[in-house]
């Protein structure tokens, strides 16, 4: 067996060398050294693979995909008859939450009675965007991100989420820190709303 034949017939580094191969390795120190280096490399690759075995996608990917799956399944797939009320209840809760969200986002500032001036600061703070809120100037991807609803509960990992698309007045964007042209404030804008397992809105993203 020559060197060419040796390498042509022995591509699997994990396999033990057969008699013919062993004979060649005994005769050819160059092939023996190269095979030894290749086996060390294979061992290093196995260690690299083991080192990375615990690496996985962040939990938020599963949350987003589950919401997308539920959205898709709710529109395209019929549930078994025995559980017909589940989607009805889910969508009823979602609709109620969307109405509540729309009211929250579009309501005018409350008229503060003269004798309660001290509470006006609290009312304004309630609609002030949170510290970690990304505003359109923060990053180039901000338009694609969901914005947490002020004072809403946090989205927990593995929480069952629903995603619904609604139309709200453009003025609703003001409450979330966007600059809106006053002339177009009454025009509708499409938004995607993430609903938690309790049916309450958690985050919103403006589509346009």
């Amino acid at each position: 067996m020559n060197c060419q034949e040796f390498w042509n017939t022995m591509p699997e580094l994990a396999h033990e060398a057969e008699d013919g191969h062993l004979e060649h390795l005994g005769e050819c120190s160059a092939c023996a050294a190269l095979l030894n280096r290749q086996r060390t490399l294979a061992s290093g690759l196995r260690m690299l693979a083991a080192d990375w075995r615990s690496v996985e996608a962040p939990a938020r990917v599963e949350s987003r995909l589950t919401a997308a799956f539920l959205g898709q399944a709710g529109l395209a797939v019929r549930r078994p008859a025995a559980r017909w009320w589940v989607p009805v209840a889910t969508w009823a809760a979602a609709a109620a939450a969307v109405v509540a969200l729309a009211v929250f986002l579009t309501r005018d500032r409350p008229v503060v009675p003269a004798h309660r001036t001290s509470s006006s600061g609290v009312q304004l703070a309630a609609v002030k965007p949170p510290e970690d809120l990304e505003t359109p100037g923060d990053s180039s991807d901000a338009d694609n991100d969901f914005i947490p609803i002020p004072n809403a509960a946090r989205i927990e990992p593995n929480e069952d989420l629903n995603l619904v698309r609604v139309e709200v007045p453009r003025s609703a964007m003001i409450a979330l820190g966007y600059a809106v042209n006053e002339d177009r404030a009454s025009e509708p804008v499409e938004a995607e709303v993430v609903l938690g397992a309790d049916g309450l809105a958690r985050a919103v993203r403006f589509v346009e």
């Binding site: 690759l45 690299l48 693979a49 797939v77 549930r79």
Partner: protein, 209 residues
């Protein structure tokens, strides 16, 4: 008394989970996702060197599955192979767009401690953490067609038949690319070792302790 035969509680196959998922069973989708996401994520991370790209592509792969855009046919290959195939196409698209700027590469280049030990054989370094990291960087620096076979076959332990399915080439091509890829890796590791600051530039000094 009639004894019931013992039936082992075997986990559902990917195809069984997919059937349940197609009926709208979210638990089946979650089970399938949890079973397959890590390998897809790691594949993209090794191919692109970017955690952002890996996250985006992993999400897009499973979105394609949800939307039934992958055209999966169990007669032609495994679901795992299909998912790798979609991931491969998407990561290539990202690379072509120039969005895959090797973030891990730059992070780790700057933080890598200088090597002061002088060793006659660069491959013996593979047993330590720096050596493993150097190997990861060498994999990332391979030309794409060689990198993908190393990542699939050596790191994700996909068999040659499935790798051929993912890459759309004969098994023989997978074997030859893998052989060439390993030779390139050995070459790159040797070059890296010879260019280390410790080799040639440093001389042994007296120990003061």
């Amino acid at each position: 008394m009639i004894e019931k035969p013992m039936t082992p509680n075997l986990p559902e196959t990917d195809d069984q989970l997919l059937v349940r998922m197609r009926r709208g069973d979210d638990q089946a989708f979650v089970a399938l996702y949890r079973r397959r996401q890590a390998a897809i994520y790691r594949f993209v991370l090794h191919m692109s060197g970017s955690a952002t790209v890996a996250e985006d592509v992993t999400q897009e792969v499973f979105l394609a599955l949800i939307r039934e855009q992958c055209g999966y046919d169990p007669q032609r290959g495994t679901l795992s192979g299909y998912l790798f195939g979609i991931a491969r196409k998407l990561v290539l698209r990202h690379v072509e767009r120039g969005r895959s700027d090797v973030a891990l590469e730059t992070d780790m280049e700057s933080s890598a401690p200088p090597q002061l030990m002088v060793n006659d054989n660069p491959l013996t370094d593979l047993i330590d953490r720096e050596g493993i990291e150097a190997l990861r960087r060498s994999v990332l620096a391979l030309p794409r067609r060689y990198r993908e076979v190393v990542v699939l076959c050596d790191l994700e332990e996909v068999d040659y038949g499935e790798a051929a399915f993912v890459l759309g080439c004969p098994i023989g091509t997978v074997r030859s690319r893998l052989h060439r890829a390993r030779a390139l890796l050995l070459e790159k590791l040797s070059q890296r070792w010879h260019h280390r600051p410790g080799v040639g530039a440093l001389k042994p000094i007296r120990c003061l302790i």
